[in-house]
């Protein structure tokens, strides 16, 4: 519980700092002043103040706020999705981008860009991304499990196979697209929050909220599942239904993130693992802590991505993979040492 409170406080603090730093300088006090001014405006009070830069207010509310919020939402989704995925596969190495769920979502999103579909309005990209993510996850699940568990080697090899296929499909879509679609895909493939708009927040927020509510509802059952399939069944858990529910939720969470910001790798691996080291494997704490931790990590990573180089945005997917890749390697090594082999 203490961890949840600490993560929550850290997230709020990080969000305020994130709103304050950027290429257009706005002091943290000005951020608070502007928030007060807005809130005061709603209830008819004239408190707070607007930032001193003539475009400060616009930058804060139209560019930076949606960006910070979207980063928090996507981070929360990826952190939560990672924790649930690891519970379902019974394997701490399961991660949306490693096993190919993110790639599956990417295929859907790229198709929408290339073919210019818009039948569901701004929900088209997330909806199609969800459909392809769900299909991919079901395939991975059906093929990687054997005798009620998933071996590390099988899972990693499945990930290689699935990622190879999705990369090939995306390459074909890039080939089909005109130069504008091509640039859009390349930009989006690297993973970036540059260009986050309120519209994206409005689409992603309810989807993530539903997904996270679903995640919280099944944490107790996930704890029972961790005792082993048999024991869980004896304790009244409908294991198959739980697995399918989890897969749908994971696909929803991953797709909502991937749809707007591209593939941001390894968040779902690093965060749950660090949380587990602090509070142990109980999902009732692990899942909400991973959600908050994911949000915190992505908000911070995005600040680095957009402030490290003047007038430029580094691709955030590159940053997380740079840190997450070695981390994944270290975990593989640990698993091998602990298990005495690659079993």
């Amino acid at each position: 519980m203490a961890l949840l409170v600490a993560l929550g406080v850290a997230l709020v603090a990080a969000a305020i700092v994130a709103a304050a730093v950027g290429q257009l300088p706005i002091a943290p006090s000005e951020v608070l002043g502007s928030v007060l001014h807005r809130v005061g405006g709603w209830v008819g009070l004239d408190i707070g103040s607007v930032p001193s830069h003539p475009r400060g207010e616009a930058a804060l509310w139209n560019v930076r706020s949606p960006r910070v919020l979207l980063a928090a939402l996507v981070g929360a989704a990826l952190g939560g999705a990672g924790a649930v995925l690891q519970a379902v596969f019974g394997n701490p190495l399961a991660e949306p981008s490693v096993i190919g769920v993110s790639g599956g979502a990417a295929v859907g999103a790229c198709s929408v860009i290339v073919f210019g579909w818009s039948f569901l309005g701004s929900y088209t990209v997330p909806a199609i991304a969800f459909a392809t993510a769900l299909g991919t996850t079901l395939v991975i699940y059906a093929m990687a499990r054997h005798g009620g568990r998933t071996e590390v080697v099988t899972l990693v090899l499945m990930g290689i196979a699935v990622n190879a296929v999705t990369a090939a499909v995306i390459a074909y879509l890039v080939f089909l697209g005109d130069s504008q679609a091509r640039e859009q895909i390349v930009f989006w493939q690297l993973g970036s929050f540059n260009g986050s708009r309120w519209e994206a927040v409005r689409v992603v927020a309810p989807v993530v909220a539903v997904g996270l509510a679903g995640v919280m509802a099944i944490t107790r059952q996930l704890d029972l599942l961790a005792l082993g399939e048999r024991s869980a069944r004896h304790l009244g858990v409908n294991v198959e239904r739980l697995r399918l529910t989890s897969i749908v939720i994971v696909s929803l969470l991953v797709a909502s993130g991937v749809a707007f910001v591209g593939i941001i790798a390894f968040i779902g691996l690093i965060v749950p693992h660090l949380v587990r080291m602090v509070v142990g494997p109980s999902h009732r704490t692990l899942v909400p802590a991973s959600v908050l931790g994911g949000a915190l990590l992505v908000v911070i990573a995005d600040v680095v991505a957009r402030t490290a180089v003047d007038y430029a945005d580094l691709p955030i997917g590159m940053l997380t993979a740079l840190v997450g890749g070695p981390f994944f390697f270290w975990m593989l090594h640990r698993t091998r040492t602990a298990a005495g082999g690659w079993g």
Binding site: Q23, A58, A59, Q184, N194, G195, R197, Y311
Partner: protein, 323 residues
């Protein structure tokens, strides 16, 4: 065809701003390229951003260059070089960098992006006017008039459009006269960024097709049915039999100059490659069209057909040597 090795086309000078610049009469309300109605009330702080640098050059030529507060990477006008650059990774816009400059109006088009950033700027309350992103001779006049209309200087727009049109036809006849000796050289525009692994050739509708037509050449990429910008295909390039490669200077530099260029598959195995027939020109100019186009065309015409040009007659001894 006799070819005399790589040539670098240098524009003699930049387009002159109109002689009696008028003060913008505002507000103006225009229907932009997307069909949206945009009202501009203040043209004190202008940003004009596109992939080609055409819009900023047009603003400059309309006599409003001192009102520009930033630029894209492709803006080549010498007096605008000290303005802060708001694009990165090539041609990607950054909303915060733009907002920091506090522009009162932004002219841009879909040649640059991401679109989300352009929408963000609009949502931030800045009038964002999306212009036509075609680049060829036929639309230069209309595009000049459109920029002038947005900024409330329609008279300067008419003056500039008329003088540019006149200058283009003069430059065209000069180039046509020079080109007579050469028999319709077959040309292709190569867009290379060696450091980023980008090897493209430009076909129909890319602007390069019209540039080649203006130079009196045959656009071999367009002839092969290529549209827009496509990845270079070695066999396709060889089959299309180009006599001359047109390139951007930085593009040529990025592959290691004319020698490095020959190492790209297919490039060496054409007449253009065998003879080292390459003409390059500043990235910001070669495809920008706009008011700068007459100068660009003359410089390229000179580099291709001039006395010292790549296909030129040259001094007597050169011209009579069989190749």
């Amino acid at each position: 065809m006799v070819c005399r090795g790589p040539r670098h086309a240098v524009a003699q000078d930049w387009v002159e701003p109109v002689t009696d610049p008028s003060t913008p009469v505002l507000p103006t309300t225009v229907t932009d390229f997307t069909g949206e109605s945009v009202t501009v009330t203040d043209a004190e702080r202008i940003l004009a951003l596109d992939t080609y640098g055409t819009l900023a050059t047009t603003v400059y030529a309309l006599g409003l260059g001192d009102r520009l507060v930033g630029r894209d990477i492709s803006t080549g006008v010498p007096t605008l070089q000290d303005l802060p650059v708001v694009t990165h990774n090539g041609h990607e816009l950054n909303a915060e960098a733009i907002l920091e400059l506090d522009p009162s109006v932004i002219l841009t088009d879909y040649s640059i992006g991401p679109l989300e950033v352009q929408l963000q700027l609009k949502e931030a309350g800045i009038p964002v006017v999306i212009m036509d992103d075609q680049r060829n001779r036929a639309v230069i006049g209309d595009q000049i008039r459109a920029v002038a209309e947005v900024l409330g200087v329609p008279t300067a727009g008419e003056t500039l459009a008329a003088s540019v049109a006149e200058d283009i036809s003069r430059a065209e006849s000069e180039v046509t006269a020079m080109a007579e000796a050469a028999a319709d050289p077959r040309m292709v525009f190569l867009y290379l960024r060696g450091n980023a692994g980008v090897y493209h050739w430009f076909g129909k509708g890319s602007g390069a097709d019209d540039l080649i037509a203006a130079l009196g050449g045959v656009d071999v990429a367009g002839e092969s049915g290529l549209e827009g910008s496509r990845p270079l295909n070695a066999e396709g390039l060889v089959r299309s039999e180009p006599d001359l490669y047109l390139m951007m200077s930085d593009g040529l530099g990025s592959v290691g100059g004319a020698d490095g260029l020959l190492e790209i598959p297919g490039v060496a195995d054409t007449a253009a490659g065998v003879d080292g027939c390459v003409v390059d020109m500043d990235d910001a100019q070669i495809l920008s069209f706009g008011p700068q186009f007459p100068v660009t065309l003359r410089a390229l015409g000179d580099a291709v057909y001039g006395p010292d040009g790549v296909l030129g007659a040259g001094s007597e001894s050169d011209g009579t040597e069989p190749s």
